[in-house]
Subunit: 309 residues, 2 copies
């Protein structure tokens, strides 16, 4: 992390204080990324909780008030909520300010926000690839972004200065920054995040619906592999519904490939092609090694998890 | 764990000293489950390593020698190797001894072993539902079975006394014991273990084969969900090839259901059915809660894993 405590921006506004927003607020406070941090969440309950948690400097009562005079506004709401929030706040954004977000889909965010913005506001979408299966302002923590990647997807013709500010902000929050186009982002995330979530949700649903195997048996014997899937199938339903509705094309494309490959595997099982199975099962070990080497995963067996004894 | 240190059997023979076999040897030694523990592994390298690791009392040079005079013989080899080992050792098994195994498939193990056994040997298949993504004698540890389930699948007409001995053995090794038929076991494990492994291997394979998204991007951005799948897709290829070849019917049945459900989800995405997606994504949270409550999983975010910082 940077050695200087010089704030990256004067006034930071965070809209939406769930897992990501509240983690950002915490790290921005700890690392002094802004002179003042203004928070707004549409839920009364969350706003009350924010006062108790003492994160940020001000809890605003409206989104419009929160963004007033802000130099950097980051929307941390479910992807499907960006348009409504964008429409609401756009008249109140300061000339020269940066509007960014943290959504898991990028092309649709650009389409949702662009129509409302004046030319004086710099729209620079971003997506920190980090999270847990928990949601809400209590689930956040300042180290969430540490050594994770934040993908920034600048639009054509973006100015260097505001892009540099957003990059510094994320780097000071602990993240590594990578730039790509919104479309490429959506394709990369479809395979590294969206389809994995979809098939995790799906197998947990399949297991819940069986007649021959009881739910109690599924729970008892989940240590055989199933329980790993239930973690990501416990993620926030609103967030994930919005992801699938807003990244339809890329998800369907990757899902199509997944299905083709699965059909081939199914065929190998039916016809007893042991060599084919063995070849795939060997090949897949390499990728995990890369993930561990690059610090994106622990090498401890079973993720190092400790279950109740 | 039991308070008495009275051994469960006089002589225990373990054939195959990978993750499961070497964990069993370690816990049997620590908990004094046998007066003597004899080990055999077909690999010279593993036998040499066993001498260094100092687990068990004797490392035999042949499987036949290992099982001689043993009261309890447990085969800890890949499912597909049981038949060859059974044929080899059966003439050397003591009258009244118990032959068991740890395979992830049970019906095929019964078919593989039964033809070679005299009526004086008690065949009682078992399956401890526990493991990690690592393999080999160094990967084992004595607590592997602690608070995990061991499923025993006795055949019709099994005698109470030997069944009681095997049950005590597993309970003293830290496991909870459940009885069911081999066929039902194979169905339960197909959904809780085999299909989850298959789809994990599959998505890692799909990701490795993309042209538009590079392998380096898949690795970098794996924290979006993908990396969870790579853990189980790093499991032992030989073991898993054998599982799929030997539990074909149950795996194809469960995979068929998974595919139907996935097709329905795919359709919801294509047609923008947000309510349908939200309903499934909400329902799947309950099962994880059950798994955590029953001590089969940690409640810590992200499995409590700590990646390199």
């Amino acid at each position: 992390m940077a050695e200087t405590a010089q704030p990256v921006v004067k006034r930071l506004a965070l809209i939406g204080l769930g897992l990501i927003g509240s983690s950002l607020a915490r790290v921005a406070q700890r690392e002094k990324l802004a002179e003042s941090i203004v928070l707004f969440d549409a839920s009364d309950k969350v706003r009350t909780r924010l006062h108790e948690l003492k994160i940020g400097d001000v809890v605003a009562e409206t989104a419009e008030a929160a963004v007033k005079d802000a130099d950097l506004v980051i929307l941390c709401v479910p992807v499907g909520a960006n348009e409504a929030v964008g429409r609401l706040i756009s008249p109140h954004l300061k000339d020269g300010s940066i509007l960014s977000d943290v959504g898991s889909v990028k092309s649709s965010v650009v389409s949702a926000l662009s129509p409302y913005l004046s030319e004086e506001v710099h729209l620079i979408p971003a997506h920190p690839v980090a999270g847990t299966e928990y949601s809400g302002p209590d689930a956040g923590f300042a180290d969430l972004f540490l050594n994770r990647w934040c993908i920034i997807t600048p639009l054509e013709g973006v100015e260097e200065a505001p892009l540099g500010i957003l990059r510094s902000f994320w780097e000071r929050a602990g993240a590594n920054v990578e730039l790509m186009t919104p479309n490429h982002h959506d394709l990369v995330l479809a395979i590294t995040s969206h389809v994995p979530h979809l098939i995790a949700y799906n197998i947990v649903g399949t297991a819940a619906d069986l007649e021959e195997v009881t739910q109690s048996e599924v729970i008892k014997f989940s240590a055989g592999g199933f329980r790993d899937f239930t973690r990501i199938a416990a993620s926030d339903p609103t967030m994930w519904r919005d992801v699938f509705l807003n990244n339809k094309d890329a998800v369907l494309e990757m899902l199509g490939r997944f299905n083709e490959d699965l059909a081939a595997l199914q065929r190998m099982i039916r016809w007893g092609d042991g060599d084919g199975l063995f070849e795939l099962f060997t090949r897949t070990r390499t990728i995990r090694r890369g993930i561990i080497e690059q610090g994106q995963e622990t090498a401890a067996p079973d993720f190092g998890r400790r279950t109740k004894h």
